[in-house]
Structures are given as structure tokens and as C-alpha cells.
């Protein structure tokens, strides 16, 4: 292992090659990028975001604040922690200066999501989690055990403990493999639970192929979001070690003691050669001894306490390790990395006497105590309480069916965690209504020395707090926290926002409580009183690609298509999105390269509809069957106009308003029989209108005997438009009498069109003679092809439809209205019944607001230059030059087109008091200019309605 100078003897595993900051290295299978870098003696991994200070590996898991890297190959991914990146052959990474770079190319990997359900979700496969999951799963419960690491074991991975005589790591692997074999259990490794929401809805992300690098199979989703609904959740999330604020506590070579232990035991890597240990509690002794056994020279242990655990002191004495009781580390020193550590008696830092000592060392292990990982418990709505013994917050009262187990709720011994987990498993069983086994065997573990109480020290006092870091990732120092407190901030939430401590993408896992501790210290209050900042999802950063999952590209949103869609595509139509529908926008004429532009195509299509014959796929309109003896009464209450007087066989246009009197939807109502209507809605509102009908029927008028059924996609619809439409229809429907007397305007007939059973409605949305032919959507394509077969019918799209209706002043709900427009505003007083006692919206027409003279009315606008097209949305002003802001606006353009029939441009607009302004000149911005326009009636073409009968 000459290439890996800090690798311990006896390390096994396949050799992997990787590149970091341009340098080639070797690591071993099972390494993280962090352990591989440490094995190669790489101390400075990244640099800090504000101060540009060198930073090294600080932790061994997702709490890492320092070692931020960017993966460059096989695909660029920014802001990863070297401690959670699994090493693979060919990995190329660089250290980051606190910020990464987004990929400059599309991510070729697949991502997906999956829903899962279980009786109990156990988060964390450490000793408590394995025990809980084992008890529940063996008794038949549906169990999901999720753990963020590549292998189970949790804290056991970093220690040298044995269970039932087996090394912890081996025990965990065996237990979890047995669990995974049970039919109702699911083990999710490399899976981080990110969020804990209402009703035990839990989001986790599984990293499935990230660790395979370029060897990842292309068809396999790289990351998978798990959406888990759990009847009960056991949070066996363990703890994170904290550091202490002292001078230079960010230097490479300063490391959490537990992390160093993990590197030595799990990865067989020595994080340094000569170490000083700085601790407030017993746990660092186990780390120190493990490292000493692995070959690290422990120069001294500075323990803030006067009395460390006796057993530990004895073990140190055996090995000749010096223990400085009642001491602190006042500074870590070195050029770019630790080369010496300054210690002092604790009294010295508080102004009293005592000698400081400079100890040469390349490693400083720090333990400021351990904090239970309470993030998910807090997210789930549980309260937290401060545990004086631990010096940390632990779960209090739960709001949901969730409990913490093991160290996550402050249990500190291995045996205690195993027993606690088993108990949680039993409670999960009884909650799921399953039989609870009476005896549960807990594996035998070695005796642990009784723990001496920890002493909670947040801060080593000093005259200069410039390099006492509180939040390493945000480069926040004690100096800044004190400034915030000095500025009068006394809440940790405020200090967090003022200093940014805890807001980096590690979300303050190592720094949150430390910040609280320093603030409490400065204010002279207890941490318990001060509390902690709010824990929010996600627990660890998550890629947007994973959250998007399968919902991208063509599957980003459903694309709804009609039965004729394939024809439109083949004919080269361009499409417009209308809600989720793809509707043909216009059909550029083929043959010419690059084909007609939109303007030419639309003028041609408009001309065909007004002068010849044209057809449009109108299948997307919403259609609702309204059936029952009270159907007519019901429609009278929902539409502003009268529907009960409509005769079977006839059709009427109608408008619906909300109770506030604003236009909600419009369409035609076809009376099929006394007790049966077919209502059409606008394309975008089909579902909303059906919901609206159901709401009134179910919640206000349950006495009405009416049922509403959507038939939007039962029918395909072809609009056949133009002076020659009658002639074309007559040929396609030889059995139908098409003359005006036999088949008058606003009536319908059942017949066969092109041999297909059809319902033909004589309605017009263009002012021209027109028909709408409805057939089963299975036959929609056949009908369309039959209409197009002779080649004399011009297909037209939504743009032409819009121009034709706008020329006639027909508004489009949602384009010319916006939820603040009444029928009267649209110039449709005539559609509001005076005879009906009530209908939805009627009372609002008597409100002062709906009769204000300055309400916006729908009007036509003619630009004085007939070639100028006004932009839709343009605001209208009264003056030819803009006054000082705020500029009073009179209204805005809602629709604007070039008209073949008018030979000029025109627009519709909502204009304050618009109807009284006919003939007035207003101005609209077009680019940098204000162009003059004349207000006119909104009906610009065929105002007499002479064309509809052909």
C-alpha cells in the first residue's frame, strides 16, 4: 500500500483508481471518497465559502460540514460531501470553495419514485433500528427498514464492539440479511429519510447506482424517491457528535473523535500520526484507545472535567496516555493544517493562572458531546426537551404514531439501545394489532464501563473570537454570534438569520446546538430556556432530478390528445397547449420549404372558413350529460339565461357565473329529451364545470333529481364551417335534409355522416354557416378522414378559430375574461335573465360594485395604422406620451389578430367605461412606441348576423 501511506495494515478489498483535484490516487472498495483521501494523506479537501480557509474531513457521515466536493465524471454533480460519496473506479472529483457548479449538459440517468405502505417504518439500521425491525418483521408485520449508509450497522460500523461474539458489522449484516428474506419486510440501504410529514407520510431517497459510476446500468433508475405511508414510525437515527468552539477549530487535521474512530476501524485508515484529544465526555476515550491500538500516537487527552470515567483513566494509564484533566484546547495551530495544539488548564481561560502548553500533533480529535438526531421527530410535529445529562435536545411528546429508539432518544449504552429498539418493535406490533412475542432475545454484548457525567462546554473563552468557528460551512464564528447578541438578538431563530449559522446545506447538523450554546452563554441563560431552531425537511440535500423523477420530458405533464391527433401530426400541424390538450394551432401548407409562416397560414385558413369551407377538430370541448326529471330546473339555476324553455331538438348558448356574478364558463346546451341535456363547456373548464355541478347538487340541492356524467371523450367533434359547409355535409350525410328550413340554426339531428352514427348540431362560433358533427371517439379519425377525403375542405386550427370568433366579438372565457368580468361587462346583458327569481350570480348583479360606470367593458380596438398588431396584454393609456409613474391605465388588450375579412389588424380589450368610449382615441405601447388606437364595438364583422344561414 505504498500509494496509501495512511492505510492500516491488513486492509482488504479491490483497489480502485480515482482522481481528485487533478491528482491520481488509489483507494479500496468500501471507501468513501473521504476515507480514500485520508488514506492518501490528503488533508485539505476544500476551502471555505467566505474566508477561503483550507478545510479537511471533519466527520464520517452526512453531518460533514467541510469536505464539499464536486463529482466531475461520469456526470457533474455539485455540493456532495466526500464523507458520503462512495468510491468507485474512475471517479473524478474536485474540492469546492463552498459552492459547486451545475452540470452544463442534460443528465442522462433515469430517476423514479415509488409508493410504499407498511405497519412500521424503522429509520436507521444501527443496533436499535435492527432490533426494532427484527422484532416487528419476525412477528409478521409489514416492515421497512431504511438506512442511509451502504451497509447496515450504524454506530457499530465505527466501533470494535461485538454482539453474540461477532464483530458488530458482521452481526448487523447477518441480522439485516435475515430480515430482508422475510416476505413482508423490505430493507432499503443507501436510503436517506428526508422528510416526515403529516399522517406518517415519509419521503426517502434511495441512491441506487450512484456508487457504480460509469458501470451503472442505464435502464436502472439512479435515484428513487420513496413515498412511504407508515402506520407507525420508529426513529432509530442515532446521534451526531458536536465540536467545541476554540481558536483554529476549522484547520484540516481537526476532526470529530467518533469520525476518526470510524476511519480507523471501518476503513482501516489513520487520520493522522500523532493526536491530541479534546473532550467533554467519555466517548472520546474509546476513540483515543482504538486509534492508539491502530498505531496513532495519542500525545495527550485534554478533558474539561476534573474527573473522567475511572475505567477510561485506568486504560489510558495502562497505555501511557497522558490525561490532562480540567484542561481545554485553546488553539489548533499550523500552516494550512494542524501541526500543534495548545492546551491550558480550564481556569486559565477564565482569567485564572496555569500554564499553556504547545503539543506537536497532526491530528486533533474533538468531542463536545453527542446530539440525538431529532430532525425527523421534530418535523413530524413532536416536541423536544433539553436533556441536562446529554447536553442536547431529545424527543418529547409525539404528535403522530412515531417514537424514537436508542440513542435518538438519549439511550447511551449498546445494550440499552438493543433493548430499547426491541421494545419499540413490540409497541409497533401491538399498534398493528399483531401478536406480541413474550420473550425477545437481545444479543449479548461486552460490559461497558459506567459512564462518568459529561460537562457541557460550548466555547473556550478567549479575547479574540475570530477563528472560533460555530458553523464551519457558513464560516460563522463566535465573534459574529456575539455581535448578533450584542445587537440585541436574543432568539436563536433571529441569530440564525442574522449570522446565517445553521443555514448551509448541512443544515447545522454539527453547529445548531453549538450556536444555541454560545448564544445561551452570551446571554447568561440556559440552553434549555433558549431552545433550538426549527428542523425542516430535507434532512440532507436532495437532487432536483430525484424529486422530478419520471415527471420530465414527455412525461412531465400528461399530454391529452384527440382521436384525430395522428392525422394532425402527419399533416404537419403545429400544436398549441390548451390546458393539457395538444390542439392543432395551424396547418402550414406542405410542399414549400420551410412552409408557410403562421401569419400566411392563418390568413389562408380564415379565408377558407369565410369564403369556402373549412374544418376544425373541436373534440376537446367539455361535454356533460345532465339527466333527470329536474335537469331543466337545475340548469336554470346554474346558467344566467333560461334553459327550461328550450325544446327537445334545440340548442341554446349559455353563460354560467360564480356566486359573485363573474363569468365562469360558457357553452352550448343541447336538449336531447325532456329529462336529458348535453352541456358543452370550454376546453379548459370541463372538469371544473362538472365539479361545480356536483357541488351544487350534493351540497345545496340534494332534492333535485339530476345526475351529471362526463362524456367529453365519448364524443369526437368536427366543426365544419363556411358558406360551402352545407354542400359538403349534404354529400357526407345523404340521409339528412340540410336545407335551412329542415335543419335550422341552433337545432340538432341524429343521422349518419360518412356511414358513421352521428349527431349533427347547427351551431356557429364564427358567424358563418357551420355544423358540429359528433361521433363516437372510436370513429373520430374515420370521420375526419372522410371530411378531408375530397381535398376541398381546409383544415384549420385554434388560431384561426380565435380570429373568426374575435371578428364576431365572441369572448373566450379565460382569455377575454379573468374572473373579474360580468356578462354585462362583456356586452351580454341579453344573456342575463330578468324573469328567473334566482340563479347563481344574480344577487351580485345588484351589488354597487357590478354597476360601477368605470367597470371594464369588452370593446374592439382598431389601430390607426392597420398593419400594427397590438401585443396581447398591452395596457392602454389616454395620452400620446407617458406621464410620470404611476401611469394610470384604462385597461388592457385581451386578444389581438390580423383579420383576412377586415383586411387589417384588430383587437379586443377590456377598457374602463369602454362602451362609452366608442370612437375615442387611446394609446397602446408597441415596443418603445405608443401607438394610437380607436375604440369601437367589439363586434367587427357581420354585425347583422347575415352569414350564419349560408
Amino acid at each position: 500500500m505504498s500509494g496509501q501511506p495512511y492505510r492500516r495494515e491488513g486492509a482488504t478489498g479491490r483497489v480502485l483508481r480515482f482522481r481528485f483535484d487533478g491528482q491520481e490516487y488509489e483507494g479500496l472498495e468500501g471507501d468513501t471518497l473521504a476515507s480514500a483521501l485520508l488514506a492518501n494523506g490528503v488533508r485539505a479537501v476544500a476551502s471555505s465559502i467566505r474566508l477561503g480557509r483550507p478545510r479537511g474531513v471533519y466527520a464520517a457521515g452526512c453531518e460533514e460540514p467541510n469536505a464539499l466536493v464536486q463529482i466531475e465524471e461520469p456526470f457533474p454533480e455539485p455540493m456532495l460531501q466526500a464523507t458520503t460519496v462512495e468510491l468507485y473506479d474512475g471517479l473524478v472529483a474536485t474540492g469546492l470553495p463552498g459552492q459547486g457548479r451545475l452540470a452544463d449538459r442534460p443528465d442522462p440517468a433515469r430517476y423514479d419514485a415509488v409508493h410504499a405502505h407498511c405497519d412500521v417504518l424503522v429509520v436507521g439500521a444501527g443496533p436499535a433500528g435492527i432490533a426494532a425491525a427484527g422484532v416487528a418483521a419476525r412477528a409478521g408485520a409489514r416492515v421497512i427498514l431504511a438506512d442511509e449508509r451502504p451497509e447496515p450497522g450504524g454506530s457499530l460500523l465505527g466501533t470494535a464492539e461485538t454482539l453474540d461474539g461477532r464483530p458488530g458489522r458482521e452481526w448487523a449484516a447477518g441480522e439485516v440479511a435475515a430480515l430482508a428474506a422475510l416476505p413482508e419486510a423490505r430493507v432499503l440501504g443507501r436510503t436517506t429519510v428526508l422528510g416526515h410529514y403529516d399522517d406518517n407520510y415519509v419521503i426517502a431517497v434511495e441512491r441506487r447506482t450512484n456508487h457504480l459510476g460509469a458501470a451503472a446500468p442505464a435502464e436502472m433508475a439512479r435515484e428513487r424517491v420513496w413515498r412511504i405511508r407508515a402506520k407507525r414510525v420508529v426513529l432509530a437515527t442515532g446521534g451526531h457528535e458536536r465540536f467545541v468552539a476554540f481558536a483554529g477549530n476549522d484547520l484540516p487535521g481537526v476532526m470529530l473523535a467518533g469520525a476518526a474512530r470510524t476511519y480507523a476501524n471501518r476503513h482501516r485508515v489513520l487520520p493522522g500520526r500523532r493526536a491530541v484529544v479534546f473532550t467533554t465526555n467519555d466517548s472520546a476515550y474509546a476513540a483515543a484507545l482504538d486509534l492508539a491500538d491502530a498505531g496513532v500516537e495519542i500525545a495527550a487527552i485534554a478533558d474539561v472535567r476534573q474527573a473522567p470515567g475511572e475505567a477510561w483513566a485506568a486504560r489510558c494509564a495502562e497505555r501511557g496516555i497522558e490525561v490532562l484533566t480540567g484542561h481545554v484546547v485553546t488553539a489548533a495551530r499550523g500552516e494550512g493544517e494542524v501541526s500543534s495544539v495548545e492546551t491550558a488548564p480550564r481556569s486559565k481561560t477564565q482569567g485564572a493562572g496555569g500554564e499553556t502548553r504547545e503539543i506537536p500533533a497532526d491530528l486533533l480529535l474533538v468531542s463536545g458531546g453527542w446530539s440525538p438526531v431529532v430532525h425527523l421527530f421534530s418535523q413530524s410535529g413532536g416536541t423536544l426537551r433539553y436533556d441536562e445529562g446529554l447536553g442536547a435536545f431529545t424527543p418529547g411528546e409525539a404528535r403522530q404514531a412515531v417514537e424514537a429508539a436508542g440513542f435518538a432518544r438519549g439511550v447511551t449504552t449498546l445494550r440499552g439501545c438493543l433493548e430499547d429498539g426491541a421494545e419499540a418493535g413490540r409497541r409497533a406490533l401491538s399498534a398493528a394489532g399483531l401478536a406480541v412475542p413474550s420473550e425477545i432475545a437481545v444479543p449479548a454484548v461486552g460490559e461497558e464501563p459506567p459512564a462518568a457525567p459529561a460537562e457541557h462546554l460550548w466555547l473556550v473563552e478567549s479575547g479574540d473570537y475570530g477563528t472560533h468557528f460555530v458553523d464551519l460551512q457558513r464560516d460563522v464564528t463566535v465573534g459574529e454570534v456575539l455581535r448578533a447578541v450584542g445587537a440585541g438578538l436574543s432568539s436563536v431563530e433571529h441569530v440564525k438569520r442574522y449570522t446565517t449559522a445553521g443555514t448551509a446545506h448541512d443544515q447545522g447538523k454539527t453547529s445548531g446546538l453549538l450556536t444555541s450554546g454560545v448564544v445561551a452563554h452570551a446571554l447568561g441563560v440556559e440552553v434549555a430556556e433558549l431552545g433550538t431552531t426549527t428542523f425542516r425537511a430535507p434532512y440532507t440535500p436532495v437532487s432536483f432530478a430525484a424529486l422530478a423523477g419520471r415527471d420530465r420530458g414527455p412525461l412531465h405533464d400528461p399530454v391529452r390528445v384527440t382521436a384525430m391527433h395522428e392525422w394532425h401530426v402527419a399533416r404537419g400541424a403545429l400544436f398549441e397547449n390548451v390546458g393539457q390538450w395538444k390542439r392543432p394551432w395551424y396547418y402550414p401548407r406542405p410542399g414549400e420549404d420551410p412552409g408557410e409562416d403562421m401569419e400566411a397560414a392563418v390568413l389562408r385558413e380564415c379565408r377558407a372558413a369565410r369564403e369556402d369551407v373549412a374544418a376544425m377538430d373541436a373534440s376537446t370541448l367539455g361535454k356533460i350529460d345532465v339527466v333527470g326529471p329536474d335537469a331543466a330546473v337545475f340548469l336554470d339555476r346554474l346558467y344566467t339565461n333560461m334553459m327550461s324553455t328550450l325544446r327537445a331538438g334545440s340548442i341554446r348558448y349559455g353563460v354560467m357565473c360564480r356566486a359573485d356574478g363573474m363569468v365562469f364558463d360558457d357553452g352550448t346546451v343541447i336538449r336531447l329529451a325532456d329529462d336529458r341535456f348535453l352541456v358543452t363547456t370550454t376546453t379548459g373548464n370541463a372538469a371544473a364545470v362538472l365539479d361545480w355541478m356536483e357541488e351544487w347538487l350534493q351540497t345545496e340541492w340534494p332534492d333535485l333529481r339530476v345526475h351529471c356524467t362526463s362524456v367529453t371523450e365519448q364524443w369526437a367533434t368536427v366543426a365544419l364551417v363556411g358558406p360551402r359547409s352545407r354542400e359538403v355535409l349534404a354529400r357526407l350525410a345523404p340521409g339528412l335534409a340540410v336545407d335551412n328550413d329542415s335543419f335550422p340554426f341552433m337545432t340538432w339531428r341524429d343521422t349518419e355522416v360518412a356511414g358513421i352514427e352521428a349527431r349533427v348540431c347547427r351551431i356557429s362560433f364564427s358567424g358563418e354557416l357551420a355544423y358540429e358533427i359528433n361521433v363516437s371517439s372510436w370513429s373520430g379519425l374515420a370521420l375526419w378522414e372522410a371530411v378531408m377525403a375530397s381535398g376541398e375542405v381546409t383544415p384549420y386550427g385554434t388560431e384561426t378559430m380565435h380570429v373568426l370568433r374575435a371578428e364576431k366579438g365572441f369572448p373566450i372565457v379565460g382569455q377575454d375574461t379573468d374572473g373579474t368580468v360580468t356578462p354585462q361587462d362583456l356586452g351580454m346583458e341579453w344573456i342575463v335573465s330578468k324573469k328567473k327569481a334566482d340563479f347563481v350570480g344574480k344577487r351580485s348583479f345588484a351589488r354597487a360594485d357590478t354597476s360601477r360606470p368605470d367597470r371594464k367593458h369588452l370593446v374592439g380596438l382598431l389601430p390607426e395604422d392597420p398593419g400594427v398588431l397590438l401585443p396581447e396584454g398591452a395596457h392602454l393609456v389616454a395620452t400620446s406620451s407617458l406621464p410620470e409613474p404611476p401611469v394610470p391605465t384604462l385597461g388592457f388588450v385581451t386578444s389581438s389578430y390580423r383579420s383576412a375579412a377586415l383586411g387589417r389588424t384588430f383587437a379586443l380589450a377590456l377598457v374602463s367605461g369602454g362602451r362609452e368610449r366608442a370612437g375615442e382615441r387611446l394609446y397602446a405601447p408597441v415596443g418603445a412606441d405608443l401607438v394610437p388606437v380607436t375604440v369601437t364595438s367589439h363586434v367587427l364583422y357581420d354585425p347583422e348576423g347575415a352569414r350564419r344561414d349560408g
Partner: protein
């Protein structure tokens, strides 16, 4: 009669190819008869309808019953969907209307409103779980259960059978759902020889 085309007709070959690879079996059953029935379950009409179609309307939410070549799905407390073979709609509408005998019952032919997709085989549940939030465990959603719910971003009527699921999908959504199913199945389909299998 002019040629009919079902909403997922264009996917036949891709469904077949995906089904051949050991993944879920995907297929469209086109042109099934579907009748939406609204009736007060406590009315005599409901009882007469049960007699007329040979099976009582299921009253337990989320259940489906079979009678002859008909399957009756509970859609709501006063709503059912009757599924039958191609071409049965006119006769069925007539039978239902007759049985209603003037009571306020709504019978609407919605055969072309939705098409029927099959998601069957061993991995059917796995594939659907990628987009369906319901618990599809056989103890919870086994044969005889049905549900209106969503798959990915489309509304569906899901019917559990012995060997998988039938899924009724709005015709305009059929292509989206078909593409989604093919994409979600990809991981479960054995790659053609020569390509690496997932680790």
C-alpha cells in the same frame, strides 16, 4: 361501419415487446362496453336493475362483482360502471332503462370515454406502485377490489384481478398512460441478450 380506432392502438407493438421481456404484461383491450349508471341504491329501480343484469349492484365501496359477461364496479355511493363485451352497449342501455321504469335513473353510454389497459403478471404491482399511491398489497387490494384513483398524473379506474389489473383510462390520457407504463416497466424488462443486467 367505418373503421374504429382505439385510443392506445398505436402502442400495440410496444406493449407486446415489453411484455415479452419478463416484465409486466401490458395490453389494451379495446372497445369494451362501458355504461355509467346513477341510481339511488335504496330505490326499487336499483333492485330491478340488479335483477335485469343478473347481479345485484355492489354496495360496498371499492368493490366489483361479476355477473355473466358483465362486471359491475362501484364508483360512488350512487354510481356504478358496468363493463361488458364489445357491442353490448345498446342492449344494455335498453335493459337498464327498462328496469328503471321511469324512476330517476341516469344511464349513459361511456364506452368510448375510457379505454381498458391490462397491467398483469408478477411485476404488475411493482410497476403500478411507481405511480399509484394506493396500497396494492394483495391483502388490501386483491381480486374483487376496484378504485378510482390516480396513476402518475392521470385519473384511472383500477380493477384488481387474479393475475393483475385492468385499468380504465380516459381516452385522451391513453397515450400518456401507455408511455408512462412502458417507461416504468423498463427496469423490469430483461434487456436483450448482450446487454448488462441490473446489478
Amino acid at each position: 361501419m367505418a373503421e374504429r380506432r382505439s385510443p392506445a392502438a398505436a402502442f400495440a407493438a410496444r406493449f407486446e415487446a415489453a411484455s415479452a421481456g419478463g416484465g409486466p404484461r401490458l395490453a389494451e383491450i379495446p372497445f369494451l362496453t362501458q355504461i355509467d349508471l346513477r341510481v339511488d341504491p335504496k330505490s326499487p329501480a336499483a333492485e330491478r336493475i340488479g335483477t335485469a343484469i343478473g347481479v345485484p349492484l355492489p354496495l360496498e365501496p371499492g368493490t366489483a362483482v361479476r355477473g355473466g359477461d358483465l362486471t359491475v364496479l362501484w364508483l360512488g355511493p350512487d354510481e356504478w360502471l358496468l363493463l361488458g363485451p364489445d357491442g353490448a352497449a345498446p342492449g344494455l342501455v335498453e335493459r337498464l332503462t327498462e328496469a328503471a321504469a321511469g324512476e330517476p335513473v341516469s344511464v349513459v353510454d361511456v364506452s368510448a370515454q375510457r379505454t381498458t389497459l391490462v397491467v398483469a403478471g408478477e411485476r404488475a404491482r411493482d410497476v403500478l406502485a411507481h405511480g399509484c399511491a394506493l396500497d396494492l398489497h394483495p391483502r388490501v387490494f386483491g381480486p374483487g377490489r376496484c378504485a378510482q384513483t390516480t396513476l402518475a398524473r392521470a385519473g384511472v379506474v383500477l380493477v384488481a384481478g387474479e393475475d393483475g389489473f385492468r385499468m380504465l383510462v380516459r381516452s385522451s390520457f391513453a397515450a400518456y398512460v401507455a408511455e408512462w407504463l412502458l417507461d416504468a416497466s423498463l427496469e423490469y424488462v430483461t434487456p436483450p441478450a448482450g446487454e448488462a443486467a441490473p446489478a
